[in-house]
Amino acid sequence: MKLKPFLALAAAVFAVSAANAADKVKVEYWSNSLSPKFDSVMKDLTAKFNKSQTGIEAVWVDVPWDAFQARVVSSVAAGNVPGLVNLPKPWMDQFAQQKIIQPITKQVGGFKNVYTSGALKDVTYDGEIYGLPWYQVTAVLFFNKELLAKAGVKEAPKSFDELLKTARVVKEKTGVAGFAPKLNDGFAGWFLYDGLPVVQNGKAVFNSPAHVKLVEEFKKAYADGVIPKDAFKMQFEEQIAAFGSAKVAMFGEGAHALKRTQTDSPKVYAQTGVAGFPEGKGATPFGGFLFLWSVPKGFKNVDAAVKLGQFISNDESQLAFAKASATFPSTNKALDDAFFQAGAKSKDPVEQATAVAASAIKSSRTLTVSGLPDEAAMNQKMNDEIEAAIVGRKPVKQALDEAVAFWNSKFAAGK
C-alpha cells in the first residue's frame, strides 16, 4: 500500500470514530478489586451495556482495594472523576458525610423497589439515596460436626444465646474454643446485631444495662476460653486457619471463606456443617456486607451514570455476577432464582452455605455506625475500652461509661 492513500484512509477512519465518540457520553466506572478474577463477567456486562446504548459508552476500570479510597478522593479533589465508583457500605457513609459522592434519590425513584429492603436501607444516608445496591455477602454459621458431636450437641444453635451456650459446652467437653466471634473490626456491629442502639439523638448510648449485659457475656466467654485468646486479632485469614486446624468449633463468615478450608484442611471440610447465622434482636444475621455504585461529586452526567448503574445492578446482570463470584445479588427477583436454592440438599458445605445464606440475605444489613464527627478516634476509643472490658482489665460498666463519655465529648465538640 502506498503511504498517501493509507494516510488518507486512516484519517477518514479516525474522523468517523472521533465523531462517533464525541456524540457519546463516556461513563467510566471503577470496580473494587475484581480484576483479574472477574474480568470476563465485567467485560461481558460492559459490552452488553454498550450494545444496548446509543448515547452512552461505558468504560470499565478496576482499582485495587488498598488504593481505592485514595484514588476516589484524589480524583474528586482534581475534578476529574469517573461516573460510578464501587463502594462498600461503610465507605459510602464516609464519602456521603464528606460530600465526595452525590445523592441520587431523584434518579432512582422510579426503579428503587427492585432492590431488597435491607439493601435499600443500606444505601440511604441521612434520608438520601447515595448508591445503587450491588452484590452482597452475609455470614452463615460453620461448625465442626465432630467437635459438636463430642460435646453431645445435636443441632446447630438457633439463637445467639444458644450459640454461646453451645460454644461453652464444646469448650468444657473438648477443650477447644467453641466460637470465634469477629471482634477485630470493633464491637459496634455486635450491639447493632443484638438490636441495641449505639447512637440515639446525637448521643452515645451504649452504656445501658442491656449493653453491659451483652459485653459481660463476651467477657465471661473470653475468661473461660469459650472464645479464643486472640479473638481481637483474628481477621478473615486467622479465623479460617483456626477453624481449619480444629482450634475453633464454630465461626461465622460468608460462604466463600470455606473454599480455603476445602483446599487447606480437607479433613475438617468433610466434617463441616452449615447453618444460618442466628438472627439477633436486631433482626439481621451478623456479617452482612453490601457493595454498591455511587456517583462521585463533580460528575456532570448523573443520569447517564445512573443508567449504567441501573443496568449493572439489574436482575440479569446481578445474577450473572453472583454466579461468577459466589456472592449474592441485592434485587428481590434475582435472589429468588433457583440457582441459589440448588445447593439446599447438597452434601457439599459450600453449596449448602450458599442456599442457607440466600434465605437470610433479604433481611441482611451492613452493621455499621456512621456519621460520627471523629470516626477514627471514636472507634479507636470504643474498641480499646471494650477490649479492656472483655479481656478483664477493666469493669465492663466503667469501660463503657468512659467510652460513652469520650463519644459524647466528640459529639459536643463536633457541632
Binding site: 474528586v76 464528606q98 465526595i100 477485630n184 485468646k229 486479632k233 477514627a376 478516634a377 479507636q380 479492656a388
Partner: protein
C-alpha cells in the same frame, strides 16, 4: 574557569535531584504545613484558615496525647539498635570465612517487605506461637502469653520487630564507617597493649562518631514515625496507637486532612527538636 560559572554548573548538576526533591518532598512538606492551619474540604477543594483550630483540638485530644506518648516511648529502641548495630558491624568486619553470609543474613530483614515480615512475626507473637513455645520449652514461662494483646508489653514487642527489621540497615552504615578507620591506628593500639574493649571505646567509637550521629538521627526519626510496623502487627490495638497512626486515621478514615496535617506537623516538631539535641551531643564541635 570563573567562580560564577563554576557555581552555575554545580547547580546544573544538582538540578535533576533538586527538581525531584522539590516536587516530591519540599512542595508536599510546605503544602502540609499550609494545610495544618486550614480546614480542607475535598469535595470542593477549598482550604479555609481556621485560627489554629486543629492545634487547639489536638491539645485537648487524649487519644493524640496517648499516641504521641507511644511514639516517644518508641525512642527506647534507638540506643538499643545503635549499640547492637555497631557491635554486629564490628563482628562482621572480621576477615573470617563465612562473613559474607552473616552480613547478608543480618541484612535480609531490611529488604523483606514489611507486610510479609509482619505475617511471620504475627505467628511468632501469637499466644500459642513460636515465642511462647520457645520460652515454655526453656521453662521460663508457664502461661501462654498474648504478646501483642497485652497493653503492658505489646508496644515493646512491636519495638523488637522494629529492631529485627532495622538492625541490618544500620549495621551496613557502621560497616562502611568501620572500614574507613585506618588499620594502622588499631595496630598501634595493639602494640601499646590496649585490649579489645579499650580499642573499641577509645578508637572505634570516636572514629565512627559521624556515622553514629547519622544513624542515631535516622533511627530517631524512624522511631518517631513508627507506623507500618503498627499497621502490620497490631493496628493500634493494645495501646500501640502511635502518632503517625493517628495522622493516617485522621486523613484516610475521617478525611480530615487539615487535622492530619497539623498532627503531622507536631510530629515533625519533635523530630527537629531531637535532631538539634543529637547534633549538640554527637556533632563536631567547631
Amino acid at each position: 574557569m570563573k567562580t560564577s560559572s563554576y557555581t552555575a554548573i554545580a547547580y546544573l548538576f544538582l538540578a535533576p535531584a533538586l527538581i525531584l526533591m522539590g516536587v516530591f518532598t519540599f512542595w508536599p512538606v510546605g503544602y502540609n504545613a499550609y494545610l495544618a492551619f486550614n480546614d480542607y474540604s475535598i469535595a470542593d477543594a477549598t482550604a479555609t484558615w481556621n485560627n489554629f483550630a486543629h492545634f487547639k483540638y489536638l491539645y485537648g485530644e487524649e487519644l493524640f496525647h496517648d499516641a504521641l506518648k507511644n511514639s516517644l516511648l518508641f525512642l527506647l529502641v534507638v540506643p538499643v539498635i545503635q549499640v547492637a548495630a555497631l557491635l554486629v558491624a564490628k563482628l562482621v568486619n572480621n576477615k573470617l570465612p563465612g562473613m559474607t553470609f552473616f552480613r547478608a543474613a543480618f541484612y535480609i530483614p531490611v529488604i523483606t517487605a514489611i507486610s510479609i515480615a509482619g505475617i511471620v512475626w504475627l505467628n511468632v507473637y501469637k499466644y500459642d506461637g513460636i515465642l511462647t513455645w520457645f520460652l515454655q520449652s526453656l521453662g521460663l514461662i508457664e502461661e501462654q502469653i498474648n504478646w501483642l494483646g497485652e497493653p503492658e508489653i505489646a508496644i515493646y514487642m512491636v519495638m523488637v520487630f522494629t529492631f529485627w527489621k532495622g538492625i541490618g540497615y544500620y549495621m551496613v552504615l557502621y560497616l562502611a564507617g568501620l572500614q574507613s578507620i585506618p588499620t594502622e591506628v588499631e595496630e598501634a593500639a595493639v602494640l601499646d597493649g590496649a585490649n579489645a574493649w579499650q580499642r573499641f571505646w577509645k578508637i572505634t567509637v570516636p572514629m565512627v562518631k559521624p556515622t553514629i550521629l547519622l544513624c542515631t538521627l535516622l533511627s530517631t526519626i524512624a522511631a518517631l514515625k513508627a507506623f507500618q510496623e503498627v499497621v502490620v502487627l497490631t493496628r493500634g490495638q493494645a495501646d500501640t496507637y502511635t502518632a503517625l497512626y493517628y495522622v493516617y486515621a485522621q486523613a484516610f478514615t475521617n478525611f480530615n486532612f487539615g487535622r492530619a496535617a497539623a498532627a503531622g506537623l507536631v510530629v515533625t516538631f519533635f523530630c527537629v527538636l531531637l535532631a538539634i539535641v543529637q547534633f549538640r551531643f554527637f556533632g563536631e564541635k567547631k
